[in-house]
Symmetry: C2
Subunit: 156 residues, 2 copies
């Protein structure tokens, strides 16, 4: 689907605040409420907007400790990879898991309360997974930027 300048602007607005009413959006976009409504419905139908979510303050729900885990597997057969991936996806502490190029196979973003809970996560969950070769963890010292807003300039 081809997105025009208005779609792009609309997506930008919804990525920042999805609780705006169609009326508020219509004023910012210089469109009628119905036109905004139809564009949003189309973006949802096309699967460009996948869902609407509430974002929470990590610290206030006791998940203020972010750890990045680099993981190497002992073997790289299809079977090992998919088994590992299925098990990792089950763990609620793991918010992100990417199979990546480079020295390590996987990069995980793990959220826990503190270093004590991280130790517990490592010992009881991560290292109990089979096929793990080595892991290397980096702790977040400072969160400089963390957004869900995709850059939408020059979308073709």
């Amino acid at each position: 689907m081809k997105l025009d300048a208005i779609d792009t602007q609309l997506l930008q607005l919804l990525q920042q605040d999805s609780k705006q009413t169609n009326k508020q959006l219509s004023l910012q976009l210089n469109l009628s409420v119905t036109a905004v409504y139809e564009r949003i419905k189309k973006l949802e139908r096309e699967g460009i907007i996948t869902n609407y979510v509430a974002l929470l303050n990590k610290e206030k729900v006791n998940k203020g400790f972010t750890v990045f885990c680099h993981i190497k597997l002992v073997q790289h057969s299809q079977e090992y990879l998919t088994k590992f991936e299925n098990e990792i996806a089950q763990l609620p502490e793991v918010l992100e898991c990417f199979h990546v190029s480079g020295d390590y196979d996987y990069l995980l973003k793990v959220l826990v309360k503190d270093i004590k809970q991280f130790r517990s996560f490592m010992v009881n969950k991560l290292t109990t997974l089979k096929h793990i070769g080595s892991t290397q963890s980096s702790f977040s010292i400072n969160e400089v930027k963390n957004t869900t807003t995709l850059p939408l300039h020059a979308v073709q």
Copy 2:
């Protein structure tokens, strides 16, 4: 603020789908609509819910190529760090940036269309920043898991 079991369940529901009506939420929580309304307002007032956003399909807006950049600075004075952090935060391609422990100083998550656009990002934006020592980039081969839902079990 102390979260009870109902708050936790409510947050879990809103993290998955924030477009549910209070009526729908009330049925799942076995509460009245008013009680749901009051709880949500309180969670917003307390800053536990920070905002509501639309999530997009990366591929469909031409940002399907995820790269993780590990960055080392040449110096680590307060001045260098804050300058670098301010400049990085301006770049729309950088969705996440964490100052981390370990071999590298910063870990960035960068979203672009393809490797060609990544090269352009590197050459024109990242390496033009002063104070950068070395960078090492890993490309995402497969996205195993990527959620914004914080784990809320055993919140104290």
